[in-house]
Amino acid sequence: MFERLIPKFWNERFTDTGPFRRLFNYRRIWRLAVLLTACVAIVPLFMLAILDLNVTRRSAETEINLRVSKLVSNTDRTLTFFLEERRYALDFIVRSHAYAELADRRHLAGILKSLKEAMGGFTDLGLIRASGEQVVYVGPYDLEGKNYRGEDWFQETLERGHFISDVFLGFREAPHLVIAIKHRHPDGSFYVFRATLDTERFNQVLSQMERSGDGDMFLVNRHGVLQTPSRYHGGVLQKLALAVPEYAETTRVYEIDTGRGDPLVVGASYIKGTPFILMLVTRKNELMRPVHRTQLLLIGFIAVSTTLILVVIIGVATRLVNVVYIADQQRVRTLREAQQSSRLASIGRLAAGVAHEINNPLAIIGEKAGLLKDILSIDSNYPRHAKLVGLVDSITASVDRCGAITERLLGFARHLEFKVEPVNLAEIVHEVLGFLHREASYRSIAVEVDVPEDLPQFVSDHGKLQQILLNLVNNAFAAMNDGGNLQIRARLETDQTIVLTVKDDGCGISEGDMERIFEPFFTTKKDKGGTGLGLSITYGLVQEIGGTIRVDSEVGRGATFTITLPTQGGGRKD
């Protein structure tokens, strides 16, 4: 399956391309083409994608920071307002009531009731003298008479005028915080008015705040102790695992690397006038999810386009290199054929020259031998007469043999007038097979003829065509074993060419011989009396009628001679 996908040129190793061999490295051409085009096409795509991913990520981060910052600021304001509202409420109470009124337990209980109903969140109220002693207390506990003089919060209230405490667990294990204000009488003496607030209301405020995804909003004090419950970072009064944010005037947004590839985005704000730090902790991946989805889409798109581009590039490069490869092969083949035909032409000229030069001395030998025989025939009394006549006959026979060879050699190189007439190829094939019919049936060789009768008549040389076919069939017979199979086939290839093939299943031709098979005197049948001229003459004849001859063969599997003939009488004009 995969082998079919490997283009033909991939395993090509040219051995005979001569100079410029570098140009024939198709793999290299292919690799270069694919690499360059892929680079040019894909690199800008990747650059754009990376750029876009960065820009989107950065803008998304900016947006997230802004959103977190805004949310934290808003919540900060709400909480500040919540606490200040209660502080001002207490302030208003102390300013609008005389000390005696506040010191009246029943009256104070009335105030607590009003506060609970009007504002909510108040658990108890207490009035503390400058000495630290709580003189009046209304609420669920029995705290009257308790002295707070030594407590830090009391001292701080005295110093700053008001105080908001950390959250602590009350007796009922419910988180509370204390708000205290110091009220100064006109005579310089003062007292402290304190209230305990249920942080439940706090939690409500925090949970009412919009929280995107699984954001976690809570308060911590400056020691990192949680003041309100958190979703993921512990309950009230537990120590927060995260570091306490550094103090800043305004809301800060920063990232914490958890080391698990899932950083946290933290928005933090110090709530003024309180020990509280408001924190919003969100998993960054959660916030970035829409962005990640878009990025994933982009990466998917890039992957698909890159695959598509690569497929197209590889396809186009393969096709182009294959075309070049085929053209090159054609060129090399044509070059080889041209070399062969020019070599044959010069061999032909040489052979003609040699034959001609040899003919004259051959004629002299012949005549001298003839004369010798003439003399011998007049005077037959010469001793050993018969022996001499035998010798002379032998000389004459050899001269005749040489004469036949030179004649055929000259035939190979001869340039003849082209005798053109309309010929019918089917007729010629039948004529030729008529000559060889006896040999074929004697050796039980099956001759299969596939020459359509309706093949158009074309203008050529009847006699030469006959001789060509005769030579080829003779040649095939010589190569075949008894009982072999011979195919003669003709087809109209184009309007201008007819292709005639003679295919045998004989011994075949080795690759080394294939190059030289049309050379004169090249023979593999020397011991069987071959002269090596048959195919060279055939070659010459095919050239003369303007055709081409080609041989394909494999040792042991027979040979196929293919002759391409022009239908328009393309004789060689010399």
């Binding site: 003919n359 004629a363 005549e367 004369l371 003439d374 004469g403 030179t406």
Partner: protein
């Protein structure tokens, strides 16, 4: 019948002449076209056997000149150019119909000579 053999290969032509003489044919030989024309001045020949390819005056040219002097003369050509076909074109153009390929068989030559002279004799 007097025959003149012309060929620049004197060794060949002299032997051929000798063999013809042994067959009772009155055969002379010369080694070039010039000599042939010179000899025609004082000898009468019925037939000339010419080599096609000779220096200076080739066989065909020589035939033209000899025929100009003696129109009834017959000609046979010999050629070292291989087969009959090879020579056919040039020779038939010049009006010669008889040719022999070298090396020449004496029997073939004798037969051709009889044909040529017979054809001549049968002419009115």
């Amino acid at each position: 019948m007097r025959v003149l053999l012309v060929d620049d290969e004197t060794e060949f032509v002299s032997t051929l002449a000798e063999r013809l003489s042994m067959r009772n044919i009155d055969a002379d030989w010369v080694g070039s076209g010039e000599e042939a024309l010179k000899r025609m001045a004082d000898h009468v020949y019925d037939l000339a056997v010419l080599d096609v390819k000779m220096p200076h005056i080739g066989g065909i040219e020589l035939m033209r000149r000899m025929r100009a002097r003696r129109p009834e003369m017959k000609f046979i050509f010999m050629t070292g150019h291989g087969s009959e076909q090879d020579f056919q074109a040039g020779a038939s153009e010049a009006g010669a119909e008889y040719y022999l390929a070298k090396p020449v068989h004496i029997e073939d030559l004798m037969r051709k000579m009889t044909e040529v002279l017979g054809a001549g004799a049968s002419r009115p």
